[in-house]
């Protein structure tokens, strides 16, 4: 190739980079305006905080998914994993193995993070050492985790039994600090840590390199399998953090916990501007994508325009339109 193409590419890339990062936020802003038009209550503080808080699970999980996908992988098991981690955590709290409310909560949280990390480690190890497509591996573990929850729950639900523990834990979802709901603070914290790891550390650079071109990474001396595996561990830990926020909400894990979360998380990642083929990761875009998903659902319920039978179709259409807007922003010169 010659310098001539270089000149052409130069112009395009400058605009691309800016727009790609900005596009999801533009889409979110458009949705906010749309929501305000549909129902004035939409912009109420309570409603916005509700939506923001609710998006925490998907947002946190999707930050983990950003790592996995940037490295060229995929994790379909996150929804089932959430239910499994939540189930294990609640059963542990019900066991009364640790005395005292706060020591118990701390121990349970630690346990959840360890279990999540181990689940991720299992996904990562099977994928890299077994050299199996991540799609298949995580489809398998998706079924395994889900079945384990149902088994643990004996088909019913796993609920927190001790009322004092429940009362002490409840504020983690419903409480706030200076008016900011705690789950929102958790999103911000996870986003900051995620962005720090992905953008500022050598590991993050290796993630991008592996997702960009595995061969180049290998020839550059990067331990490709280790990097891949660690992205799944990060995903598992993110799932566990989401569970830490999820459990205090309803105090239970049920067989429907986390159903289809994997698809929502992947959608959030893609809306956020991360490429499914790997090599690009956008943490804040991902979080924005999770917000968009939740806002779309909220607008649907708040509006009287759409029959309840058609909500799924309208949601799907809005997501596709949001992506089209993004793409056209990128193409524009």
């Amino acid at each position: 190739m010659s310098d001539t193409t270089t000149t052409a590419g130069e112009k395009r890339s400058l605009r691309d980079i800016d727009l790609r990062a900005v596009a999801p936020f533009v889409a979110l802003a458009v949705l906010l305006v749309l929501g305000a038009l549909v129902n004035p209550n939409f912009l109420g503080m309570d409603n916005l905080l509700n939506v923001l808080t609710r998006s925490a699970f998907i947002a946190i999980i999707a930050v983990g998914a950003t790592f996995v996908i940037s490295a060229g992988g995929l994790d379909l098991s996150v929804g089932s994993m959430s239910a499994f981690v939540a189930g294990v955590m609640i059963l542990f709290m019900n066991s009364g193995a640790v005395a005292g409310i706060f020591p118990m909560l701390a121990a349970a949280m630690l346990l959840a993070v360890v279990v999540g990390g181990l689940c991720g480690l299992a996904n990562g190890t099977i994928t890299t050492v077994g050299r199996i497509e991540p799609f298949i591996v995580t489809l398998g573990t998706m079924g395994i985790f889900r079945a384990l929850v149902i088994w643990l729950a004996e088909g019913g639900s796993i609920a927190m039994k001790a009322p004092d523990l429940r009362a002490a834990y409840r504020p983690v979802y419903f409480g706030n600090v200076l008016g900011v709901p705690i789950p929102v603070l958790v999103i911000i914290a996870v986003g900051l840590i995620g962005a720090f790891i992905l953008y500022r550390t050598a590991f993050g650079r290796h993630v991008i390199a592996v997702g960009s071109n595995e061969d180049v990474a290998r020839y550059s001396g990067i331990p490709v399998n280790r990097v891949r595996t660690l992205t799944y561990v990060i995903q598992g830990v993110c799932v566990a953090i989401a569970v830490l926020v999820y459990v205090p909400r309803l105090g239970a894990a049920t067989p429907t916990t986390g159903l289809l979360w994997e698809l929502q998380a992947i959608t959030a990642v893609v809306i956020g501007g991360t490429a499914l083929r790997g090599g690009v990761g956008r943490i804040w875009g991902t979080i924005c994508g999770a917000l968009i998903l939740e806002v779309v659902g909220n607008i649907m319920v708040l509006s009287d325009l759409v029959s309840e039978y058609l909500i799924g179709a309208v949601q799907g259409a809005i997501i596709i339109i949001a992506m089209l807007v993004q793409r056209s922003l990128m193409r524009r010169r």
Binding site: T4, T7, G9, E10, A202, S212, G221
Partner: protein, 518 residues
């Protein structure tokens, strides 16, 4: 052979088949081609030479319908035309054989050759006819490739041949070759040149772009020189020597391609490899590398040179004894060998060397990232400084520093790859095909750089299919054939004849006739 070409009946005349009149092309404010006039006559081989960035690629893309010109017109048989795209151009008989491999790796050779123009029998595909046609097309290029082989399993050279075979399947008026021989062996190059002769005989025109000036000298009827987007001259090849061409391209006298060097080889052994086996590729290979030495690896494509060295540095599974500075070592991963001070620069710059979709800074520090981490953080200022250093030291020509690696020209990509690996400050550098697809000016720089490495006390291994380059820069050359080391030449015995004897196993007379064109 003739059956492989689907050509129309040639009607030789003295009217140009394709003519460029006052063609200019700008990207934004930058004019990369200005006022080019070019006429391709029936039955001529017209070479276009120029340094990287001279505008060859752009001109080619305009002629083949990939890009519209900003100003000027194209004429076919004297009639002005405006191509709507490459398919339109192809319908009018303008065929471009790309330098980059554009094949579907999971399809077979025949499926690739007939992709988009499959032969049908009723509703189903006529695989037998396509396999037969593909076999003929490939055979006529002097290659022996099963049409049912999956392309992904072929070497780069063979993929290149498949690509040429694919291009030659449609009727041709003008065939444009973009560095077709960059990755071909002598035999394959010979066969290709014969094919070009055949195309010319049928009255089509051939536009030939190559950095191999002796090859241009041998095949071209006329030569057009581009420099900085301008047409410098179009001359008859008769009487134009490679050295003249080089001077016209560079715009000044090219001193000498290969650097003068006083070999500063120390008696100590930097690397000893004994009984190395890389399953399927190399068998029982033993060699040594001295400190300060430049060791060449010659052989035909597929002789196992790349795989042997990849086995040594831990990129492939292999077994054998390796000693570094006299100490036994065992590299399981490339990381191990890098830490021990050996780097390997892949022949596949785009596929294995650089992250084309990432920017220069990320590429240059990728292998040595550890040096740029302070605490947990990557020190971006230090990275930027490293990039600045690399740009200066390796003369990487880029308009801006935030470009993507894929936007650099081939020569600059090679320099970037060198810069990336040199950040590791290695004692031993293995460079595979250091100048493939690179113009003469950059070649000179890379040779000089390799010589400087050795002069600085490092040891270098160069794997190359270009014998003049090995002879020009190496102290000693090891020759491989069929996965084994079959010979070693040094001093006065470093001649093409001698090497070809080892590389092919044929007698030196046969070899001489084969190597004749180079």
């Amino acid at each position: 052979m003739a059956t492989a070409f689907a050509n129309e009946t040639a009607t030789p005349s003295d009217r140009p088949l394709l003519e460029a009149v006052g063609i200019s092309r700008s990207f934004g404010p930058v004019e990369v081609l200005s006022n080019i006039n070019l006429a391709l006559m029936p039955g001529e081989v017209h070479a276009i030479i120029g340094e990287n960035g001279a505008g060859k690629s752009t001109l080619m893309k305009i002629l083949a319908g990939h890009l519209p010109p900003t100003r000027g017109t194209l004429k076919i048989d004297g009639e002005p035309v405006a191509f709507t795209g490459p398919v339109d151009a192809e319908h009018r008989g303008i065929v471009l054989v790309h330098q980059e491999i554009l094949l579907a790796p999971d399809l077979t050779v025949a499926q690739n050759i007939y992709l988009g123009r499959e032969i049908r029998k009723g509703l189903t595909l006529d695989d037998r006819a396509m396999n037969k046609g593909a076999a003929q097309a490939v055979h006529s290029l002097g290659a022996d490739i099963e049409p049912t082989t999956v392309v992904g399993r072929l070497s780069i050279a063979k993929r290149q041949l498949v690509q040429i075979a694919r291009a030659l399947l449609v009727p041709q008026r003008v065939v444009i070759f973009d560095e077709p021989t960059a990755s071909l062996t002598l035999t394959e190059t010979d066969a290709l040149l014969k094919v070009i002769g055949e195309i010319r005989r049928r009255g089509a025109a051939v536009l030939y772009i190559s950095h191999r000036l002796p090859e241009v000298k041998e095949i071209a009827d006329r030569v057009t020189v581009l420099r900085d987007g301008k047409l410098i001259t179009t001359r008859d090849a008769e009487g134009l020597e490679p050295v003249d061409m080089a001077r016209l391209m560079v715009g000044r006298d090219v001193a000498k391609l290969y650097p003068d060097r006083v070999a500063a080889i120390a008696p100590t052994l930097a690397l000893e490899v004994e009984g190395m086996n890389v399953p399927g590729y190399a068998e029982n290979a033993s060699f040594v590398l001295k400190k300060g030495e430049i060791l060449g690896f010659a052989g035909l494509v597929g002789a196992g040179r790349t795989e042997l060295l990849e086995g040594v540095v831990g990129l492939r599974r292999g077994s054998g004894k390796v000693k570094l500075n006299g100490h036994p070592v065992h590299f399981v991963t490339p990381r191990d060998s890098m830490r021990a001070g050996i780097v390997y620069l892949s022949e596949d710059r785009k596929g294995k060397g650089l992250l084309l979709a990432q920017d220069l800074r990320i590429n240059v520090t990728l292998a040595a990232l550890g040096q740029f981490v302070r605490g947990l953080l990557i020190d971006r200022k230090k990275e930027a400084a490293a990039l600045d250093g690399a740009i200066t030291e390796f003369d990487i020509r880029t308009r801006r520093k935030d470009l993507l690696a894929g936007q650099l020209s081939g020569g600059n990509q090679q320099k970037l790859l060198l810069a990336k690996m040199m950040l590791l400050n290695p004692d031993i550098v293995v460079i595979d095909e250091p100048t493939r697809g690179i113009d003469i000016g950059t070649k000179e720089q890379i040779y000089k750089f390799i010589a400087d490495l050795a002069a600085g006390g490092r040891s270098v291994i160069v794997i190359s299919s270009e014998m003049p380059e090995l002879i020009g820069i190496c102290d000693r050359i090891v020759v491989m054939r069929g996965g084994r080391i079959v010979g070693e030449v040094t001093g006065d015995r470093m001649t093409e004849d001698e090497i070809v004897v080892y590389a092919t196993g044929v007698t030196s007379r046969e070899a001489a006739s084969m190597a004749g064109h180079a």
